[in-house]
Symmetry: D2
Subunit: 171 residues, 4 copies
């Protein structure tokens, strides 16, 4: 489970993990959930909304879909799939507790993906994201109180280097 | 569950269903599974491969990941999510039986999405797909022996029209 | 030059033309211009903006970039490239006159791409466009006063069929 | 004009330049040309082809389209557009001379975008490119004999930092 703010580099690390781990791993994340949701759950008001400072708020409907989606991801793992999951713990440790409940009984490696807020903000511009400011606003709050098995920092280490550190911890 | 060949119009119908159904529905499909898999399971030899005539063959590793993924999708539904699933039943009725086993106990509306092979081949060109010939080759085989609750044909009916026919059957 | 509203099917026709015309043709369009512009020219106020009814308004800065871009496309053609250009003549015949001035001295086949507004609106939903309503609002205005060499209608003819009608007029 | 190998970071730098330069700049590059070409010019044999070691070879048809495209880009600049162009000088100094001929009479800032080959190869994996090995193979050859006004290295400097160095040289 990779947790980090937007533009912290989770997807790049996940792709590198798929490339270097000897067995096949499935890559899933919060972006896949968002792609799967109906427009009504992504509109402001009824769903998820992005504030002017980049802060993100989600509705009950979004939260319910997310819970069902996480239950499904856990079931994939129980059915034998090896899964690299990435998420943005907007609620910090409360989000981790929710995830932990879903993943009960499974072997989870909790990975914190850090990135200097100024660097993440620059990468957001370089990626051409239409809404800017999200990266910097999330940098700290997503890690608040969260307990990790390993932490990586993409500020000065490439995705592949971070992936190698993580892979060394994967049984 | 929408079953139909490549370029038959499943994704367009699924998006229209999300737009017209009164409650939120999650949209998932075989393309999401393929996006999630590591490159090694998509390479020829070790994973999925596309033949010169557009025929598709998949390895044991691919099949195992697919089974785990379907188990997870079923678990999402059991956890309360309403899911629009699209698939390409390459094995016809055998694929349906595999899917039926995963979805046991759930209310499933089986939808056949047909399209004239010449029309599907033309849409494949219009979409700019790099590998052509897949659409026409799959048109018939994916429906072989499959039993449906409702069948739509995108040859002469738009996605939204097909979605309305399907929505009328959704409780 | 293919002119038609959003979701009328211009891109699909253009791809089919590339596939069926015997010589290589380059495909360029207003979407490429928009991709090339800086975010500041796409923001409301300083650039292009999409109204609640789907109407589109553009700033002077956008207009200047568009003029330079069209001058360049004309230069590509004068340098020997065969070009399939698609555009949305928001100003109807005035837009055509602007385009005609840029393309002076070049052999141009003016193609009108029509689509029933209800059908275009449905295709907009099926494509998952985030801003809906644009397609229907543009259906009529983009053709106002415009003079064509050939007109096609994607309401009941596939992209490939429309492309065949157009290709027959290309020397 | 930004020249650098695949995955060296040209696009990210170009987006950052658009964001920090006070006037609007248009962003165009070799990827746009490739998007515009017909499939026949991208197939092996008749067009561009990617070898097993990542080397790229292009046909006469591709070269002709590229020349017309560059003539058009130069015309856009002569018509008043400010353009950030990115390219991969597969022929080193010979490519630069070809580009220089097209851009005659225009003010050009030649920018070399360097990246350590091992780092570029890692970024290629992190981006999920299907063909790997291109990045490393191009690292050196694209700069062979090329003369620059300014050179940046993305190995240890972020896109935004590189863009700031370049922007300081833009009149």
């Amino acid at each position: 489970m990779l947790n980090g703010g937007s533009s912290s580099g989770k997807t790049g690390i996940a792709r590198c993990l798929q490339a270097i781990l000897p067995l096949p791993w499935i890559r899933l994340g919060v972006d896949d959930l968002i792609d799967a949701l109906p427009p009504s759950l992504l509109d402001s008001g009824s769903g998820i909304s992005f504030g002017r400072q980049g802060e993100v708020t989600v509705s009950d409907g979004f939260r319910e879909s997310e819970a069902a989606w996480m239950a499904g991801v856990a079931a994939m793992a129980r059915a034998g799939a090896r899964i690299i999951l990435d998420d943005v713990f907007l609620g910090g440790v409360a989000s981790q507790e929710r995830a932990r409940a879903h993943l009960e009984g499974l072997g989870v490696l909790w990975v914190g993906v850090h990135c200097d807020p100024a660097i993440a903000a620059g990468r957001e511009i370089a990626r051409g994201d239409r809404v800017t400011g999200v990266a910097a606003s999330q940098t700290e709050m997503v890690h608040k109180g969260v307990i990790y098995d390993i932490e990586v920092d993409t500020s000065h280490t490439e995705s592949l280097g971070c992936a190698r550190l993580i892979a060394a911890c994967v049984r």
